[in-house]
């Protein structure tokens, strides 16, 4: 009997997804929050769960190392993975925004410098509004960039906007809403169609 492999983003997403799955009756007895194990099976051994870094989930799914992945839309967009995106779990809701120093507006200049953890998304957005940009890829504390003069604006995720405000920045433009999504490998959807659709339907039923 073949099982389906599910890649989960480590951390908050994993915890809430496991809770969600347990609501559908799929039990993960050996899963504990503090466990360092990276691979789990459910009690029926029909689902194998692997915990990977959130940014890697789309890669695992696109390459077929996992059949299904559950991860934030931000990482799906940034990776531009060629996968099916079939369900919105409505968890971890937040949005992509352009932010700048308080009092500033989104000025169109010859060339803007944008700091972000998500250079692809930043590029795409500014391309859409016909604004040439240069991106600076940062891996954390992105809010600092405009204050120090490293960049004109930043593109980042905000949930409430508090972090941004506390650091003297303000939201200038909203790009896109994001939340946790379920993605599926295209070959798996063809070759394990029944198993995967059953899994999705189970999840759907507890979401409604």
């Amino acid at each position: 009997m073949s099982y389906i492999t599910l890649a989960l983003a480590k951390g908050r997403t994993a915890k809430s997804t496991i809770t969600l799955l347990e609501n559908t009756g799929i039990q993960f007895k050996d899963f504990h929050e503090d466990s360092r194990k990276l691979v789990f099976y459910d009690s029926d051994k029909t689902i194998k769960v692997v915990f990977v870094k959130a940014v890697d989930v789309p890669t695992y799914v696109e390459k077929g190392a996992a059949d299904i992945g559950i991860v934030g839309k931000d990482n799906i967009l940034e990776s531009q993975a060629d996968v099916y995106e079939m369900l919105d779990l409505k968890l971890g809701k937040c949005k992509f925004v352009v932010a700048g120093k308080i009092g500033s507006t989104l000025e169109k200049k010859q060339k803007l410098t944008i700091a972000s953890k998500y250079p692809t998304i930043a590029k795409k957005f500014f391309q859409k509004i016909n604004q040439p940009i240069e991106t600076v890829k940062l891996n954390g504390s992105v809010e600092l960039a405009p204050l120090i003069g490293l960049a004109d604006y930043i593109v980042d995720i905000v949930e409430t906007g508090n972090t941004i405000n506390e650091n003297g920045l303000t939201i200038l433009e909203e790009i896109e809403d994001i939340s946790t999504r379920l993605i599926v490998n295209k070959a798996s959807f063809a070759t394990k169609s029944d198993n995967i659709r059953q899994f999705i339907n189970r999840l759907k039923s507890v979401l409604e």
């Binding site: 099916y84 079939m86 070959a187 798996s188 959807f189 063809a190 169609s193």
Partner: protein, 415 residues
């Protein structure tokens, strides 16, 4: 010294090449049994051949070179277009059905896959009639080939290029909106499709039909039933009927288990006009084969003619074979090594020559040289005796005839 290693996985080692050759031979043999004949096209094509036909290969992805006359050429980015041109320009060929196949490298570059500029395509093209029997035979050939390769779990997704085009023709969407819609359908992103469709001004029926498209997936009988709900006009009815007819013939080949319907299948190659399909094997995210019917492409060269074809991505197939452990190269390095002492050189070399004539792979080696190859048989010509060694068992022999006899016996036992 700079090593200048190109980062491509093109199987440059001897073992990789052997596996690749075996795969290509399997494909060739199967294509041949369906009556296909091999052709090739030029590596260089005029840039204008591709740039004048809309919706084919992305212009940025083509690798361009400039010839001594200043003309822009591209390295063959696709094979279907040059073959179609070749056939359309030689109309005398068209009296009969033409079945052609090719094993050719195609060249494309993209920012995302900067390392993969060349890939090998193994494809077929059928020029002739547009009939369900033809379409199903072509799809059967794809399935038959995948079976030859021993993939335990593979599926062919079938759809119709006309379906989406017909629905779009009912609307007045801009190209940007169509592109966005296409991306959403291709990724089955129903979540974001709903608000997007609501933001567009389209008729309610069409909206409902477009929303259904990604869901029309799976078991053909089931999908056909569901699809009937979104038929808006006679044209769409004809398209659905066409798909059903092809599927009926596939059933008579007895391979319907390998077929799923996917109405959300939209090929980025715009020239497809009829049935389109793609093949997946387990755990490989990209389709290993793509194809479809393209009846109108020939018109670009003055001769419209029904045609259908598909191509395997050989590198993806290799990757899949490796992943599933199906690519073990079972052949030992050579059949035989003949060790000899200088005294017996004439006899040993004559034996080697005769065995090679008989088709054996034979290495010869002076007794005092070391040899790392691991042959099936070892023969040694020593001063006083000649020995034949197999699986640790030694047998003496006197003449070539004796040796040949021993080999024949051995073969007989195996088979």
């Amino acid at each position: 010294m700079q090593p200048y290693v190109i980062d491509a996985n093109n199987g440059s080692s001897v073992e990789d090449f052997q596996i690749r050759e075996n795969l290509i031979t399997t494909l060739k043999n199967r294509f041949t049994t369906y009556g296909y004949k091999q052709v090739r096209t030029s590596t260089f094509e005029y840039y204008d051949l591709y740039s004048t036909i809309s919706g084919t290969v992305n212009k940025d992805e083509m690798i361009k070179v400039i010839d001594s006359g200043g003309k822009v050429l591209v390295l063959r980015p696709d094979v279907t277009i040059p073959i179609t041109r070749m056939i359309a320009l030689n109309k005398q060929h068209l009296s009969d059905n033409l079945r052609l196949f090719y094993m050719l490298d195609v060249f494309r570059q993209s920012v995302e896959q900067a390392d993969e500029k060349e890939s090998t395509q193994a494809g077929i093209e059928y020029f002739g009639e547009n009939k369900p029997e033809v379409d199903s035979e072509v799809i059967m050939l794809a399935i038959h080939t995948l079976k030859d390769l021993d993939f335990s779990n593979f599926k062919i997704e079938m759809g119709h290029a006309g379906f989406f085009k017909e629905l779009i023709s009912q609307t007045t969407l801009s190209q940007a909106e169509i592109d966005q819609l296409q991306i959403l359908i291709q990724s089955k992103n129903i979540v974001e499709m709903e608000p997007f469709l609501t933001s567009l001004s389209i008729n309610e029926d069409v909206k409902k039909a477009i929303q259904m498209i990604p869901l029309l997936y799976g078991d053909p009988a089931h999908v056909i039933q569901q699809a009937k709900d979104i038929i808006l006009n006679d044209e769409m009815e004809v398209l659905l009927q066409n798909l059903i007819e092809v599927y009926e013939v596939i059933k008579d080949y007895g391979v319907e288990d390998s077929i799923v319907f996917n109405f959300g299948l939209i090929n980025n190659m715009n020239y497809y006009s009829g049935i389109i399909f793609q093949g997946f094997v387990a755990n490989v995210g990209k389709p290993v084969l793509m194809g479809g019917r393209y009846d109108n492409l020939g018109e670009q060269y003055g001769t419209g003619m029904p045609a259908i074809g598909f191509a395997f991505e050989v590198d993806l197939l290799l990757h899949a074979l490796n992943q599933q452990g199906l690519s073990d190269d079972q052949n030992p390095s050579v059949d035989m090594i003949i060790y000899y002492e200088k005294l017996k050189q004439r006899e040993a070399l004559s034996t080697a020559f005769r065995l090679r004539e008989a088709g054996y792979q034979v290495l010869t080696s002076l007794s005092d040289t070391n040899n790392t190859a691991s042959p099936t048989y070892i023969v040694s010509y020593e001063e006083n005796q000649n020995q034949f060694l197999l699986n640790g068992k030694k047998t003496e022999f006197s003449s070539y005839a004796d040796l040949y006899e021993l080999l024949r016996d051995e073969k007989g036992e195996v088979t």
